[in-house]
Symmetry: C2
Subunit: 298 residues, 2 copies
DNA sequence: CCTATTTGTCGAAATATTCGAACGTTATCA
DNA sequence: TGATAACGTTCGAATATTTCGACAAATAGG
């Protein structure tokens, strides 16, 4: 195998781009003979004529033209590699791990991540969607750099992000809607409630009223929404996640005597706000920004 | 800018892949200290720790992991570059220029080119679709390596490829079809004929009978087919190109007293059969092969 | 505490790169 | 036709880089 060098390809390209060995030498700040030596050595190694001298100018051969295009890609990629290294050297994170409660509005998350990816194209983000204490657990274990959850874990300093309203809903055709009156707890207790499992402990969420006789437990808010939309029960769901279902009539708010709506606050917590890199900080900013601008509908 | 070397990246990868400086040295056939020196120099240049020594083993850092993936691509691309060079050095053509008469069945051409591209993925083919003497002219000028046309140019040695039948057709609703009898030359002379211009001279095709009063001249067979299919006249068209139109009823053969069908032979000619590279030869074979197997329908 | 294994360091030798200067060829212009 | 300028090529010497072997330092496992 021939083991050609990036530098050789660079010189080869320079010769073609600047139209000659002399001009290339000028542009690259090397002597003509260096360029000459390198390119000829490259040709010898490959056993392939890349350039041919016609008159007193060097011209690409057909093979040279083909190789140049490929070599160009190679050189570009190499330079890109060093650019990435530079970013990383300046402290940008290679990867960024975030745990986000499923209650956080997904379009806000998407917006924030998209913006992040334009500013930090090389940091790869690992997203963990959690429910309740699941995120806190990962923060304790040092598995994530950033957490968005319903509370701030012990010993950490969190920042209030937004309030998410939960409302009790069921499918419009559900029995609870056909009673024609405001509902009390006994009415609810007769129907099936669908609750979301805590992603850490695997236990049911026991905060708030849970007096229903029948109860199904699912792992994801999305699953719950799907089930309720199909008339399989009722639940308190985050308004941020069921906007479409409400407007399109797949879900309707239950008329409860009280407790129809509940407020839950989301907090942003850094695993280590001192050592957080620029991408981590930026994502924190973006998540806050998005949360603020999301107040438009609720 | 840091100007890292392919060799440095190769060594870095080797260390990771073989699980240590020592093992890498073994695998790469270099001394440990060379590897050590190169990798450390790379890290110094990038100002970025790629490996960290925990205990007595070298482990990838997060940044190192990211860089390794990119570097792997770089190395692979470099090796591919040299593979291509090797192919080229062994005589494979960087580009292959072919002139093919539009009469040659397009699906045969497509098949042949597809097969060629799997066997010679790096030769780029330049296709010129010609009509009559257009291809010959390009052969004389040395513009193409291979020619498929209706005759073999003076001084070249061609090989018979296939016979293509031209039939006189018009749209089913065309006046010529409503006469209800076999047609004679006077009938045709009263209608508009659509002929294809020679792509070299720019003159009309004057071979065969051309007694029509009205005459339109177009540059491509495809244009002619489109026009005839819309009832704009009649023409002799290669049966290989109008199979669909005939079966789907957009074209119907004219009932002529005589001369309704004409045979044209296609020949394959090499610009220089001695100096023809492997890809050129192979394409020739494929074109013949395809022509042979295409006899199924006519 | 000792040993085997592995990474890190140092100086010397081998190798590769770079440069300037001289040389040969080719195009341009008078 | 001949002078001249623009190039590519060649050569030897200076310089930089890579490689190696030997040894030091660190560490896991007995």
């Amino acid at each position: 195998m021939s083991r050609s060098t990036l530098e050789q390809w660079r010189m080869f390209r320079a010769v073609v781009e600047h139209g000659g060995f002399a001009q290339a030498a000028e542009a690259i700040h090397k002597s003509q003979s260096s360029i000459n030596h390198a390119v000829h050595k490259l040709q010898d190694q490959l056993d392939l004529k890349l350039l041919e001298v016609v008159g007193r100018k060097a011209q690409l051969t057909a093979a040279g033209e083909l190789m140049l295009r490929r070599a160009g890609q190679l050189i570009d990629q190499a330079e890109q590699l060093e650019t990435i290294a530079e970013s990383l050297a300046q402290g940008e994170e290679a990867q960024l791990r975030v745990a986000i409660d499923e209650v956080y509005p997904q379009h806000c998350l998407a917006e924030a991540l998209e913006q992040l990816s334009t500013e930090f194209p090389y940091t790869r983000v690992e997203l963990v969607e959690t429910v309740l204490s699941g995120g806190a657990e990962r923060l304790f274990k040092g598995d994530v750099d950033l957490l968005v959850a319903g509370d701030v874990p012990q010993g950490f300093l969190g920042e209030a992000l937004m309030d998410v309203e939960f409302i009790a809903v069921a499918h419009p055709a559900h029995a609870l809607h056909s009673l024609g009156r405001t509902l009390n707890l006994q009415d609810l207790a007769a129907e099936r409630q669908i609750v979301v499992r805590d992603s850490a402990t695997g236990r049911r969420i026991d905060s708030g009223w849970l007096g229903a006789e029948q109860r199904w437990t699912v792992s994801h808010v999305a699953t719950s929404i799907t089930m309720i939309s199909r008339g399989m029960g009722f639940a308190w769901l985050p308004i941020t996640r069921i906007r479409d279902e409400l407007t399109e009539g797949r879900l309707r708010e239950l008329a409860l005597e009280r407790g129809s709506r509940r407020q839950v606050s989301l907090f942003l917590t850094y695993a280590d706000s001192d050592k957080a890199g620029p991408a981590t900080c930026r994502l924190g900013e973006l998540l806050i920004e998005q949360a603020r601008s999301d107040l438009s509908f609720d």
